[in-house]
């Protein structure tokens, strides 16, 4: 029974890592601008992340190391500094975007401007990290995250042509607005394949004390958990594709437009469900990223770390997540637009992906860490594909943002 609850690690990682402001907004934009044409991007992103997360879990369970810890051990401190700094920087911006997402949701619910919510939200993040255990965070966020199913329910209630939905799973070339199309495709992939996601999962697996006996569960958790996130994103895309174009909306630049997404289906409740989904998904992401900043630093420098450790015993770890939440929230306090910040940070995430996935590939083939559980040809093939994809994303993301954003 306890092992079944471990599925929650997958779901919470998915909700925080996969389903957050980036994936929700890109899915909605994809639907509004191109109908079902970009469904393949969501599927591709989901499949890639399932493989990466399964590998991260397998790595942690067999080697009992987390990925940042192993990167330093295997490649030395001088190399480690590179993914450390790039990931800390990217996480700082993404965390700010997620805090901004929670603030926007609260703005929609209360009418009070998002900037005013920045510090209260940072405090809410800190309090749960301070007082909660990893299990509580895992299961609490997973349970609350179920509200995002409203997108799936909404999609079904709209009776889309499932045949057309299926056709969207096949990659097609756009008939109009080519650079915008590819920009959204790149954004969807950048929003799905985030390093903090699989780093966090490896830390979570060690927090939950996984070992070789958890490998089967790991495969299930990775596939089901990430599929959960992917399905919700798909739901959001389908709803956007049906709701927005008939109303002449093909670009979603403001939160007010986006917030109307569920209103045609659920009426007044549509706004509330959307705002609640945004708040919870982004809050989960913010918890995860704050923790991940602390995991990165603590594991890289060999400090004691862990959510279940008494605060007295890991002051360094606690200081990092506290400073992470506080510093990122300042960007929102000073009024940076969360939606613009999201777009920018996703491009940056895509650009920095090679720095983390390449060392990860080597770790997954290292006999000392994984023994007989090293990657087989299929997993290696997928990672090599992801690396090539990540280099491609790294090269095109910034220019596309300038021309297609």
């Amino acid at each position: 029974m306890k092992k079944l609850l471990e599925i929650t690690l997958g779901i919470v990682t998915s909700i925080g890592g996969f389903l957050e402001i980036g994936s929700l907004t890109t899915a909605a934009q994809a639907g509004a601008a191109f109908g079902f044409q970009l469904i393949w991007a969501i599927l591709l992103g989901t499949i890639c992340i399932i493989f990466l997360v399964e590998m991260a879990g397998r790595f942690a369970a067999v080697s009992r190391h987390t990925i940042p810890d192993a990167i330093r051990e295997r490649f030395g401190f001088n190399f480690f500094v590179i993914p450390l700094i790039s990931t800390l920087l990217v996480n700082f911006l993404v965390l700010a975007a997620e805090i901004g997402g929670v603030c926007l949701g609260l703005q929609l619910l209360t009418g009070i401007g998002f900037q005013w919510w920045a510090l209260p939200v940072a405090f809410a993040i800190w309090v749960l990290l301070w007082k909660g255990t990893f299990g509580v965070i895992e299961q609490g966020v997973s349970a609350l995250g179920l509200v995002t199913l409203c997108f799936v329910v909404g999609a079904v209630l709209l009776h889309p042509s499932w045949k057309d939905v299926g056709l969207g799973a096949l990659p097609t070339l756009p008939s109009h607005d080519k650079s915008h199309y590819w920009f959204i495709a790149v954004s969807i992939l950048g929003a799905s394949i985030t390093p903090y996601l699989f780093f966090f999962y490896s830390s979570g697996a060690v927090e939950d004390k996984w070992d070789e006996s958890y490998l089967g569960l790991n495969r299930a958790t990775a596939s089901l958990g990430m599929s959960f996130g992917g399905t919700i994103a798909l739901g959001a895309l389908i709803v956007a594709a049906i709701v927005f174009p008939p109303r002449g909306i093909t670009q979603l630049d403001h939160i007010e437009q986006l917030s109307l997404i569920l209103t045609p289906i659920f009426g007044h409740w549509g706004l509330i469900l959307f705002a609640a989904s945004l708040c919870i998904a982004c809050y989960g992401a913010a918890l995860e990223i704050s923790l991940e900043q602390a995991y990165l630093v603590a594991q890289g420098f060999g400090w004691k770390w862990g959510e279940d450790v008494r605060p007295k015993d890991d002051p360094g770890f606690i200081s990092v997540y506290t400073m992470a939440a506080l510093s990122s929230s300042l960007l929102i306090l000073f009024g940076l637009d969360p939606l613009k910040l999201t777009i920018f940070s996703m491009a940056l995430t895509a650009a920095s992906l090679p720095l983390t996935v390449v060392p990860f590939l080597f770790l997954m083939n290292d006999e000392k860490y994984l023994g007989e559980f090293r990657n087989g040809w299929l997993s290696n093939g997928v990672v090599l594909f992801i690396i090539m994809l990540s280099f491609l994303l790294a090269i095109v993301s910034i220019p596309l943002e300038i021309f297609g954003g």
Partner: protein, 119 residues
């Protein structure tokens, strides 16, 4: 044993099974007519900064001295006699609290963490 693969950058565990940091540096002593010996393991930000850049190492040393006193100017060294290399990590026959490694964490604990409710 291979020093870079099996010792450097590995996790250090103290006598009480607590994480102590990582092996940040190794000090080898050249002898006259005898093979060199690895005499100490070094731990600390000064050693790490020096690995990146010598000038940075000196600046970090000055900063550490300003913040923590003279005892923090030089990196902390653990003599080899206290070390056991296990392959997965490096065990040290010391108590972490007896070393200056944790000083800054102790400071944080006293002045920040313990002042917060529910610590």
């Amino acid at each position: 044993m291979d020093l870079f693969r099996d010792v450097l950058d590995k996790q250090l565990i103290d006598r009480n099974n607590e994480k102590l940091g990582k092996v940040d540096g190794l000090v080898m002593v050249l002898g006259e007519g005898a093979p060199p010996r690895v005499a100490y393991i070094e731990v600390g930000p000064v050693t790490l900064a020096r690995r990146l850049n010598r000038g940075l190492g000196q600046r970090v040393a000055r900063l550490c001295e300003k913040l923590g006193g003279a005892r923090h100017r030089e990196p902390f060294r653990i003599p080899w006699a206290k070390i056991i290399v296990t392959g997965t990590d490096v065990t040290v026959g010391l108590d972490a609290d007896d070393t200056p490694i944790r000083d800054w964490q102790k400071w944080l604990r006293r002045n920040v963490i313990e002042r917060l409710p529910g610590a």
